[in-house]
Amino acid sequence: MDVLLNLSLNGLATGMLIFLLAAGLTLIFGLMDVLNFAHGGLFAWGAYSGIWIYSQTGSFFIGIFGAVLVGFILGILTEKWIIKPVYGNHVQQILITLGLMLVLSEMLKVIWGPNQISATPPSYLAGSWEIGGVIIIKYRLFIIFVGLLVFAAVQYMLSKTKIGLVVRAGVMNKEMVQALGINIKRVFMFVFMIGAGMAALSGVLLGPYSGVIHAEMGLEFAILAFIVVVIGGMGSFKGSLLAAALVGLSGSFMAYYVPDLALAANMLLMAIVLVFRPQGLFGMKG
């Protein structure tokens, strides 16, 4: 029983990290029709900058805040200088964002060196609780809590605020949003900023979770995030949460019971969804 519970908690925690990364990706694709392969780079920058700030200040929460701020700034700069010139051209988007991904990863090595950096959770999040004979690792619960909190906050923003309405409308019909007097480019920048901030948050949370961060982590996690976006449905925020939980749980259970098939399981899950629902679990047809 405790194995099942721990595997579930582990899977959900990983799922939340992937969700934070994938949610931005899916919103950026859904609204802006942009394939952002540099998203993993923003994630890695969040990890490095956040862990560095954490190590300098001794406060994990200042580290998290700093990482998100770095994500926001990098998001704005990326949208303004890299993405804007290639709107509407997927081939150019793939090439330029893949290039940016490499640049961002290499820049990490230039600034923080090529070796991996270790990261530990703060004392109040380290260790575990034992409840009814089951050991629950505090930091995993913390990640799940943060993931759900961000989901609730973004969901509230999307469903209850004017800017959220505009974002949802923009995903459906960009042209009409503009014809109603709304500057869609500002909305694009806002969404890109939020997406990059979430990616950076995911990165900084991953540090103490995995124990180490390294410059190539962005690419590794970006693959999982793309799988999640496809399973959940391009542009679907709720779909990302469900798909991330599925991918996290399947990864966790497979790694324990059939370790050789851990990554293949995610691919298989994606293939099954694509066969029966090509638009993804929550994606709209067309």
Binding site: R168, N173, E175, M176, L180, N183
Partner: protein, 235 residues
């Protein structure tokens, strides 16, 4: 009456295609100006060019005396031009209420009064207020699209083929509402249904092969069988 909108020698390309090759027209304040012409003549592109969705490559567009042909679409809309596209442009996943909220640029007493007026005009929208826009019937979608364009204090509405694909009884309802709105705003209407267009239009322009080839008072066109035969294919 003064010109609210003026197009002078407008040319527009869509990709490599030279769609508008010289459209000139004047829209008088308080009137309904109808753009007529065969399919593919350039009527929809004319409206899209006014909105900046297919920007003009040549010519001048003035709205209340100000050149707008280089402005982005959202600025054109904010100047006071509402747009009802051919496909209605409904946000399918948003409710009727949310569709209206996206469109509302202000939430003041005047806008609320306009909302009351529009809901009296289209009671169906009130009945389906919480229903997703994508689940509305064709006529209801058209009403929602017109309502959205009207909710702001727009001095000009561009309405593209409001009768397209609708049952005759629904067309009648939509057209009746446009007639009622005539007193409150200026309208440019693209319409294939000449009978309908001639009932509500004050002035007409015929567009053929991307050029304005004829214009005048609707009364003249009603009497001119030759002109109708030549450009519209109807007697």
């Amino acid at each position: 009456m003064s010109d609210l909108l003026k197009l002078d020698g407008i040319e527009t390309y869509i990709g490599q295609y030279h769609i508008l090759q010289g459209v000139s027209l004047e829209v008088k304040k308080g009137e309904v100006t109808v753009l007529l012409g065969r399919n593919g003549a350039g009527k929809t592109t004319t409206l899209r060019t006014i909105m900046g969705l297919n920007p003009a490559s040549k010519g001048l567009i003035t709205f209340k005396g100000e050149a707008i042909q280089k402005l982005p679409t959202y600025t054109v809309a904010k100047k006071g031009i509402g747009y009802v596209p051919e496909d209605q442009g409904i946000f399918a996943g948003l409710s009727v209420e949310e569709n209206m909220k996206v469109a509302m640029q202000k939430d003041d007493a005047e806008t609320r009064a306009r909302m009351d007026y529009i809901l009296d005009l289209f009671p169906d929208l009130k009945n389906f207020w919480k229903k997703p826009g994508g689940l509305l019937s064709g006529g209801q979608k058209q009403m929602l699209s017109i309502a959205r364009a009207y909710i702001n204090n727009n001095e000009l509405l561009l309405i593209d083929e409001p009768s397209k694909g609708l049952a005759p009884i629904v067309v009648e309802k939509v057209m009746e509402s446009i007639v009622q709105m005539k007193d409150r705003t200026t309208i440019v209407l693209v319409e294939q249904n000449f009978m309908m267009a001639s009932t509500i239009g004050d002035r007409f322009y015929i567009i053929d092969d991307g050029r304005t080839v004829s214009n005048g008072h609707m009364k003249q066109l009603k009497q001119d069988t030759e002109l109708r035969k030549k450009y519209l294919g109807i007697a």
